[in-house]
Symmetry: D2
Subunit: 133 residues, 4 copies
């Protein structure tokens, strides 16, 4: 699936979703989350759950870009460290495939505030891949 | 802080939040997330990010019920395993304090679909506690 | 497999292993690690890797007590939080099954210094179960 | 601290330790673990606990190379994914600093069997840094 395919699928599957797939080539994927004042938490910074959701989404995009439209790929584990507060900014999430096995895919994700060098969060995400019929 | 205090704080801090604190006594906390069709993902089940956000919220409630209104307590690590699909249901998250130190608090969370025995997700969440002034 | 079966298997598979299975009933398992001065780290306390190894072992025991002797059950993910220093003491690890699916088993583990109430470490461990032939 | 300093400290603090610091420059660190038949698990492959211990060690080396000899830096969280079996081989662990804050340091680690391209394990490790006196 291409970024355009993925954005169309996401728009249909997650009508409230706001992340935009900018790249997805089977090995890496990039999603941008435009800043939304509704995602702010105390400290005037984008909230942790917003970053967790973005980490999950960029890995979903990465996996589907590799294996095709298998919507029932599901997250089994997500572990995230919050490193710095992003403030009020678009977030850029970049995922990289660590392993794509028969039943499990493991990817790591770095999230940065747009324009920042240092990541605001780092996640490792495992998906379960549905068996081939 | 009591559940009523926490719900008032959350309403103010997270105008879009929907989780309701039902218990919070410094050692345990329970939050309910009423079902919302907007939280569905493929498979007709409440999405992973919805559960991650709930896990984060119930631990925030637990910690504030113990240390008082310190909004700048922030999540440093969240690790979640998704165990079963909850389907379309209210979610009940129950948190338990594993350690409250000077600078870090670690809690575990079980999330169940309302009425289910087996958890649909299990998380461990670490918050950083701001230093006393 | 019973605790006696498991201890015999472990003795054979891990000649250097020192953990003793005290209980394993398919839902919970308990292993004791006798104190060994060789496991000390700076601070005069049992080291983190010693606790990680014990967490991994007690879950292996738990899973084999449920599914029988399948040595190729392998850990896919282990996440551990170190909560308090155990000092110089036997360690008692207690595991509880959170989910046993067709291909993945998820368990949580609390480790305590012998005689202590509060856990010194808490882990969540996922094993991959080999497919039935 | 230089690699030579770190190897001297490790030899003293962990007489049974076998990992060798090959690089440690405050931003990255590399440790090699020579193959030892005693570290084998069923499947004729280096065991998971061996890799967990190595991940913990390489991050300890990385942090001490940055902050100096502070032996009471302690692991607070370690999360590891096992990706492929390394077989019988030396292991090379490479750590990279994600964040060094006042009280917490977060690093990621890739472990490879010597000569392999793909990692056999990936870990994220958080240490607590003792406060300056």
């Amino acid at each position: 699936m291409t970024p355009a395919d993925l954005n169309a699928f996401f728009k249909d599957a997650f009508p409230n979703g706001r992340a935009i797939v900018e790249r997805a080539d089977g090995e890496t994927a990039i999603c941008r989350l435009p800043f939304d004042p509704g995602s702010i938490r105390p400290g005037d910074t984008v909230s942790g759950p917003t970053m967790m959701s973005l980490a999950d989404t960029v890995v979903y995009a990465l996996i589907l870009s590799r294996i095709g439209l298998q919507p029932m790929a599901v997250t089994t584990n997500l572990s995230i460290n919050f490193l710095r507060m992003p403030g009020r900014a678009d977030l850029i999430a970049e995922a990289r495939m660590l392993k794509l096995g028969k039943s499990l895919a493991v990817s790591e994700v770095a999230i940065r505030a747009d324009g920042a060098d240092a990541p605001c969060a780092h996640a490792v995400v495992t998906y379960s891949i549905p068996p081939k019929r």
